[in-house]
Structure formats: structure tokens, C-alpha cells
Amino acid sequence: MTTAQALPRAATRGKWTRFRSSLFQDYWALAAVAFLALVVLAAIAGPLLVSGDVNKPDYGVRLKPPLTAGHPLGTDQLGRDVFDRLILGSRISVTVGFASVVIAGVIGTLIGVIAAYYGGWIDSVLMRLADVQLSFPFILLALVINAIIGLGLRNIIITLVIAGWVEYARIARGEILALREREFVEAARVVGAGNGRIMLRHLLPNIVTPIIVISTLQVARFIVAEASISFLGFGVQPPTPAWGSMISEGMEYIFAAWWLVTIPGLALALVALAVNIAGDWLRDVLDPRLKV
């Protein structure tokens, strides 16, 4: 019994070592993970890093370029500090990225598992629903949903969950269809495991890897989607600093103040880039054959 318990733990430790050593060999992945850690820290510590009310206009220092004394990244059309707003904007991106990916991931995976496990009409209905959703551009779907359910941070998370669960459902379904007929499922059933137990304890653990890999890539997709939606005037509303709405406000001053569109966009692009690099690395470590 003791050996049986010790074995998986040793295997886990081996995995972590492999994880760490592969991360330190891949400089790009290391840089990406470090950068993302920094962004998450900035998001958590945000209110401590900024001085006072970031939404309060200060007309004395309107449109100051970066490297102005006291304003390292300049000020916007209302004299608000771009650096402070950027830091607080990261809270929105990080929150949206995490929350919508986790919720969409859990819901989508469960739906996919259930559809594949039971098959029949449940599967047909769910997959037709997925077909319909996939016959629209993701961003259009998200815009329409957001316009209908309303603006704000909470609703943009709901929007991305509704628009984004399909991806997970399809992957989970495909994986489970392949696993369903395997002997260990039959064995579990023979020893008396119910459907719920087979799905949660026997099937689900086997599809965790692809779900995790997709999730990292989805984080980037959802963060950019939130920014696009806020940029178009839905989602998070001014004066709340979200990177997308900051870019949209800056667009009106594109001739006078290049930094207003460049800086929040650069932050957004770097986060998306870092998540993609980290996701690629994670895929290579966890399951190199996975094509996502």
C-alpha cells in the first residue's frame, strides 16, 4: 500500500522537476512567465501602486508626453496619469482573462463530457448549438451578447463565457469519445461505479492536459476580445481604465498624442504574446502531439 501511494508522488515530483528545468532552458518561455507574473502582481497590488484617484482630471497637465517629470508614461487628454491607469487597467484584463477562462472552461468541459458520454439526442442538441455558435465570428457573437445583456465588467465575463464555452465542449467531447470505449471505463462499470463517478473520477482526469493547454491560449484570446469589445464602446465603460477603452479614447488624439494609443496597446500585445509563448511551451512540455 505504501509503495502504491509513494509511486504517484514520486512521479509528480519528477514532473515538476521536468517542468522547471525545461522552463529554465527556454529563455523565451522564462521571460514570458516572468512578465506574466509581473502583470498579475501589478494587478493585485494595483491600488497600492497608484497615487490617489486615477479618474480625476488635472487640466494643468493635459497631453504631456512620456518621461515628463512625475508622469513616466505621460498624461491623457484630461491630464490623468497614463502609468497609473495602465496599472489599474491590468486588473480588468487579468480578472477577465482568469474568470472567463475558468468559468467557460468548467462549463464547456462538463457539457462536452456529458454530450460524449451519453451520446444520443443530448449530444445532437449540444453539438448543433455549438455549430450555430461557430457559424459566427467570435467577436460578433460577443458584441451582440454584450449589447443585449448590458455593459460592465461582470457582463463582459458572462459574455465571454457564453461565446467561449464551445471550444472546450468540442475538445472535451472529442477526447471523451475516444476514451469512452476503453477497458478501464468498462472495468469501472463492472465494479459498480455510477455514471457520475465514471465521468468525474475516470474520464475527466484523462482530458485535463488538453484542457489546460487550450485554456492558456484562451486567456490571450479572451483578454484581447475584452479589449476589442471595450474599444468598440461596449464592455467596460469610461472613466474606468480598461486597456481597450483607453485606446479608444486615445484614438481621438492620435494626431496630437501618439502615446495614448501606443502604450495601452503595447501592454495588451505583450500580455497576449507572453501568454501565447507560455502556452506553446506548456503544450510542448505536457503533450507535444497536441495540435491546438
Binding site: 459566427f136 467570435f138 443585449i148 500585445a269
Partner: protein, 305 residues
């Protein structure tokens, strides 16, 4: 082949039908449609009158039946803002979106595929790494930000190109490039990986051993086989470009379906939104159908399954 097309067409019709249904119920279940377009100070009595006149007091399934009957005839109602049939408002914007989307598609094919092939042939070289870097960046950079950077560089700083609008070829360059960037990255990635797979095959070695010229083997033997997977992604890619156009059109004031849809959403002009959503679904379905047909034509195995 004929049966294959008919089956796919039938599938497409079902998807569009379900999409129209979904839009109807989403709009009806999430709010009073009259409140969406009536002025804020309309009295309760007037609101009731509008509801009665437009049939919003009927049972939901009666409304649905009427809505479906009209939709089948291409009648999605009148734009509450422009006071013209919604479908007309959307359809007249289609050529602009087609022009933008097709240009972007051509750019991504012409740039992305040779880039990927080059990376595969010169595997491990500077070209390979450069293509890899471009692919990663192209995939991560948000298209609307790229569009704004192009404006900053070529319109604001250099004065080479106009910032927005449609009419001349100069106005097409920036939006089409910004739209194409992500597609270029995906095509380059895919072309590279499939070409690497194909180039390792035995029949390629045989072709070389027969003494065929290098470029004949590359294009006639290797690329022809690799192109199957490139064709299958084109349908998906058209869909992605359409989605990208929704945002890009807004930045460059490009008068296409994307821009009219975003404006209709901002104005809560839901007749136009519905018509646009249906049009998107139809374009998507047709693009996928054409891809399936092209795929079946290239790969006879598909037709038989």
C-alpha cells in the same frame, strides 16, 4: 459529389435557421423590444399602443411564427434609425466588406504560404526563425492596435496614406494589411508544419532520386500534397477575416457590414443587427460549403465517406 453538396447545403440551411431563431429569442427574452427604441419620455399608454400595433402583445410563439415568415421572405423589419428595410441597409454594405476581406485573404495567401514554405525548406535557418518570430507576433498582436500603429506611422508621421474611408486603392492598403496580419501568421505556421511533414515522406526522396529538378519536387510533388490542409483552413480563415473586419472597419471608417453592425448595436437598432447576423451566418456557411467542395474535389476519399 452532387449528394455531398446537397447534404452540406441542407446542413447550412439548418444552421442559418437555428441562428435566426436564437437571435429572436435572445432579443425577446432579455428585454422589452419597445423600450429599446421608444424615446425615454414616452408615456405608458403610448408604449402600450406601440406594443399593440407592432404585435408585441401576442403570445411569443405567434410572434415567432410571424418573424420567421417575414425572415424567410428576407424581411427583417425596418431600421429604427434609417427608416429603411434592415436587409437593404446591410446588403448595400456587402461589396465593401467583400473587397476588404478578399484583399486581406489574397495578401495572407501570397505572403503567408511562401513564408511558411521557405521556413520549411530552409529548416533551422535564419529564415525559419524569422518566419517563426513573425508568426508568433502576428498571432498575438491585436488587429485593431496594429491598425492604429499603421495609421500613426503611414498617415500621421509620413503622410503617405489617408487615415480612413473607402474609394481609392491607397485607402485599402492599411485596413487590408491590419486585417491580414493574423492570417499571414496562421498560414505561415500551417504551411511550414505541413511542408515539413511532406518533405520527410519517402515519395519525395524517390522523386529526388529519380533526378527531378529541385523546384519540380518542391512544388509539383510536395506542395501539391501540402495544399490540401491549406485549402481546408481557407473556409475558417474567411470566417476569421469577417470577424476581424468587424473591428478593423470601425478604425478605418470602412463602410462595410462590420461597421454598420457595430453602429446598429450602439444605436440598439436590432432589426439591422438581426439582418447582419443572418448575413454573417450565410456568408460563413457558404464559405464553409465552398471549402468542403474544394476539399472533396482535391481529396476523392472525402466524397465517398
Amino acid at each position: 459529389m452532387q449528394r455531398f453538396i446537397i447534404r452540406r447545403l441542407f446542413h447550412g440551411v439548418i444552421v442559418v435557421f437555428l441562428a435566426v431563431t436564437a437571435v429572436f429569442f435572445m432579443l425577446r427574452l432579455t428585454g422589452d423590444p419597445v423600450l429599446l427604441f421608444a424615446p425615454m419620455d414616452t408615456s405608458a399608454k403610448d408604449l402600450d399602443e406601440i406594443r399593440e400595433r407592432l404585435g408585441f402583445n401576442d403570445p411569443l410563439w405567434v410572434q415567432y411564427g410571424r418573424y420567421m415568415r417575414d425572415a424567410l421572405q428576407g424581411d427583417f423589419g425596418e431600421s429604427t434609425r434609417l427608416h429603411r428595410p434592415a436587409l437593404e441597409v446591410v446588403l448595400e454594405r456587402m461589396p465593401a466588406t467583400m473587397e476588404l476581406g478578399m484583399t486581406a485573404l489574397v495578401i495572407s495567401l501570397v505572403v503567408g504560404i511562401p513564408l511558411g514554405v521557405l521556413a520549411a525548406v530552409r529548416h533551422g535557418s535564419v529564415w525559419d526563425r524569422l518566419a517563426g518570430l513573425l508568426a508568433v507576433i502576428g498571432q498575438a498582436v491585436p488587429n485593431f492596435w496594429l491598425g492604429l500603429l499603421l495609421i500613426l506611422l503611414f498617415a500621421v508621421a509620413l503622410h503617405w496614406l489617408p487615415t480612413s474611408g473607402r474609394g481609392s486603392w491607397q485607402q485599402l492598403i492599411m485596413p487590408a494589411t491590419a486585417l491580414a496580419a493574423a492570417s499571414i501568421a496562421r498560414y505561415a505556421r500551417l504551411a511550414r508544419s505541413t511542408m515539413l511533414d511532406v518533405l520527410r515522406q519517402d515519395y519525395i526522396r524517390t522523386a529526388h532520386a529519380k533526378g527531378l529538378a529541385g523546384h519540380t519536387v518542391l512544388w509539383r510533388h510536395a506542395f501539391k500534397n501540402a495544399s490540401i490542409s491549406l485549402i481546408t483552413t481557407t473556409g475558417l480563415e474567411i470566417g476569421r477575416l469577417l470577424g476581424g473586419a468587424v473591428v478593423i472597419e470601425q478604425i478605418f471608417a470602412w463602410p462595410g457590414i462590420g461597421r454598420v453592425t457595430v453602429q446598429a448595436l450602439l444605436n440598439r437598432d436590432f432589426a439591422v443587427v438581426t439582418a447582419a447576423v443572418v448575413l454573417f451566418a450565410v456568408i460563413y456557411t457558404v464559405a464553409n460549403l465552398l471549402t468542403d467542395i474544394a476539399y472533396a474535389w482535391v481529396n476523392p476519399q472525402v466524397r465517398l465517406s
